[in-house]
């Protein structure tokens, strides 16, 4: 029995349930939010230690052996993602204490946040494809409610697009699951992997692969399926934006990695090309979209899309090094992108707006905030020695080794364009003087419902920003030990036999899969 695999899912559910019990007492809910996320981070680190010792940590829920029961499995990739979930959860819990006003808190902000984290953790840990769908829905329902918290007009408009396209993705996902079950008669991903490899109708396997690609592509906001993201991510309260930006699209990316390295590693010729060009176009459209914007959070939203391209590029190149680079990009991006959104929340608190044209002078006023922004933004653009540089370096190197020169060139050019957008924010928000029409004393700006304007609470917003900016620096400075872990992820993903044996037992082989085909039992 390895409880550390189940606890990252159970703890947020427990915290969520407890917060619901204390519905009337916001103080208790805030306390549970922080304590629950500290516990989540602790369990996540425990899981990481176990995985680094044993490679795979598996439990079969309810004691039913795979492939009958639901498997929870953590490999290095899952463990790293869970640790990141814990870090972001804790950062957001602390930040929310100051940034989310009681007007939002009392409508279930904290329970929903816990539920969202439970969904994210469940998606990272499950070894069952239908269970993955269920965790996706848990995550989605929580995100729907968080997105419209406050109920402003822009939120409603954004939410309709977000809800529609994400539900469409879910239905495509569900359809693909149904067809997969019809083909192989199992829902366990390791078992599916074996049986799909042995399936006669490989044309149908390709159809399934493309359906999964579209479903997860929408969730991950890849080109041309990303339109819901820039239409909605700048509308909710800023802590919610940051949580979404850090974790939600990355769950889609994680699922792409999991499904395409485990289940569909034999349809590569066709799907890798699609992923490769999808990745290139995702990078370009995202970064060009950002270049046209002059609103803090909209620029950042488009950059989420652009960065997703790098992660998918790592998968599309499909070498151990490229996958290591792709996961490095996911890790760096979760930290940095969340931090940029958190900083946009602080600047809004200070200057009352997200419009770059109306902001200014923060370098003089808040030099340390400027440093935190500098570290995060230039890390996103890939300036050495910050975290983004190594992600980009590894991916570009893998791209050149694989001979994909055009896409690699695109990746480099997009890095330059990212720098342009980040310098634009730097110039407008921090460097230039505050424009004449925004000379209202900071204390008098009414910032709407999502802030309580208590100056003493500002340090609660600075604390996570400072820690995450430090992470961006440390990931860059200590890239070597991290790269060792990333290479281990690359090896594990490229050799799915280890995963399959961890789930189904060491004697599992294709022969077994063929002998006990379920169709024979079912036909009357």
């Amino acid at each position: 029995m390895r409880p550390e695999v189940a606890l990252p899912v159970l703890l947020p559910l427990l915290s969520g349930a407890l917060s619901l019990l204390f519905w009337r007492s916001l103080t208790t809910q805030r306390f549970i939010a922080v304590a629950g996320n500290i516990a989540l981070l602790g369990v996540a680190l425990w899981l990481l230690v176990s995985v680094s010792m044993d490679d795979y940590v598996v439990i079969q829920m309810g004691g039913w052996e795979a492939p009958i029961g639901i498997t929870l499995i953590a490999d290095m990739l899952s463990a790293v993602m869970i640790v990141l979930t814990g870090i972001i959860g804790l950062a957001l819990a602390i930040y929310s204490l100051a940034s989310t006003g009681p007007g939002h808190e009392k409508f279930g902000y904290y329970p929903l946040m816990h539920l969202l984290l439970a969904g994210v953790a469940g998606a990272f840990l499950t070894g069952d494809i239908f269970n993955l769908y269920v965790w996706f829905e848990v995550m989605l329902v929580a995100s729907f409610a968080l997105l419209i918290l406050g109920g402003e007009k822009a939120q409603m408009e954004g939410a309709i697009k977000y809800v529609t396209l994400n539900l469409l993705a879910s239905v495509i996902f569900l359809t693909a699951i149904g067809l997969t079950y019809g083909m192989v008669g199992t829902l366990n991903m390791a078992d599916i992997a074996q049986r799909l490899a042995a399936a006669e109708n490989q044309g149908m396997v390709e159809v399934l692969a493309v359906m999964f690609m579209i479903a997860f592509g929408i969730k991950a906001a890849a080109f041309p399926l990303f339109f819901w993201l820039p239409a909605s991510y700048h509308t909710p309260p800023v802590a919610v934006s940051a949580l979404f930006a850090g974790l939600l699209t990355k769950v889609g990316v994680y699922s792409l990695y999991r499904v395409f390295t485990l289940m569909f590693d034999q349809t590569l010729g066709y799907t890798q090309d699609l992923l490769l060009w999808g990745a290139a176009l995702t990078m370009v459209t995202g970064v060009l979209g950002a270049a046209a914007q002059f609103e803090f959070r909209r620029i950042l939203s488009f950059h989420i899309v652009s960065q997703i391209g790098y992660m998918i590029l790592g998968l599309a190149l499909f070498t151990p090094l490229a996958i290591a680079g792709g996961i490095f990009a996911v890790m760096h991006n979760i930290v940095v992108k969340t931090n940029l959104f958190l900083i946009s929340g602080i600047t809004r608190r200070l200057q009352g707006t997200y419009e770059l044209k109306k902001m200014g002078g923060l370098y003089r006023e808040r030099p340390w905030l400027a440093v935190a922004f500098f570290l995060s933004a230039f890390s996103l653009a890939g300036i050495p020695p910050l975290s983004g540089f190594f992600a980009k370096f590894v991916i570009v190197r893998a791209g050149i080794e694989a001979g994909a020169y055009v896409v690699t060139g695109v990746a480099l050019a997009v890095g330059l364009m990212t720098l342009y957008s980040m310098v634009k924010i730097w110039n407008e928000v921090f460097w230039k003087a505050l424009p004449e029409d925004n000379l209202v004393p900071v204390e008098q700006i009414v910032v709407g419902d999502d802030s309580r304007m208590v100056p003493a609470s500002l340090w609660l917003m600075y604390l996570p920003v400072a820690v995450l900016a430090l992470f961006a620096l440390l990931i860059g400075l200590f890239a070597e030990p991290l790269m060792v872990a990333m290479n281990q992820i690359g090896d594990q993903l490229m050799n799915p036999q280890g995963y399959i044996e961890a789930v189904l037992g060491p004697e599992a082989g294709i022969e077994d899969a063929l002998v006990e085909s379920p169709d024979e039992e079912m036909t009357p």
Partner: protein, 115 residues
């Protein structure tokens, strides 16, 4: 039976997509509703429609006597129905609120957050 189901499922998907492409948000939600029903029927059908006995094991035995229907797709469909129900309940409330705030049943009037 399978061909009839296949046609019915195809029709459901087609009408769902058609409704989702309309401008009215009410039709959009009806489309979503049909879409999830279509997916559920598809799971049900593609898992194989058998006329077997219920998968119950008689007392004292460890395996059912004779062929039985596969219980798993039904469990999956049941879960999917419940999820779809919850999500649709949210979607219906959302379009009601959106209609109250935007004062239009028209997606073309909801373009302010687009870029």
């Amino acid at each position: 039976m399978e061909p009839v189901m296949a046609v019915a499922i195809g029709l459901l998907y087609a009408s769902a997509i058609f409704l989702m492409l309309r401008r009215s948000i009410v039709k959009l939600v009806i489309g979503l509703m049909l879409l999830s029903n279509a997916a559920n029927l598809l799971i049900f059908t593609s898992a194989g429609m058998t006329r077997g006995a219920p998968p119950l094991i008689p007392e004292g035995l460890t395996a059912p006597l004779g062929p039985v229907a596969d219980p798993l797709p039904q469990a999956v469909v049941l879960t999917a129905i419940v999820i779809a129900f919850g999500v649709l309940a949210f979607a219906v409330v959302l379009i009601r609120r959106a209609y109250e705030i935007v004062k239009a049943d028209d997606l073309d009037k909801m373009k302010e957050t687009d870029t």
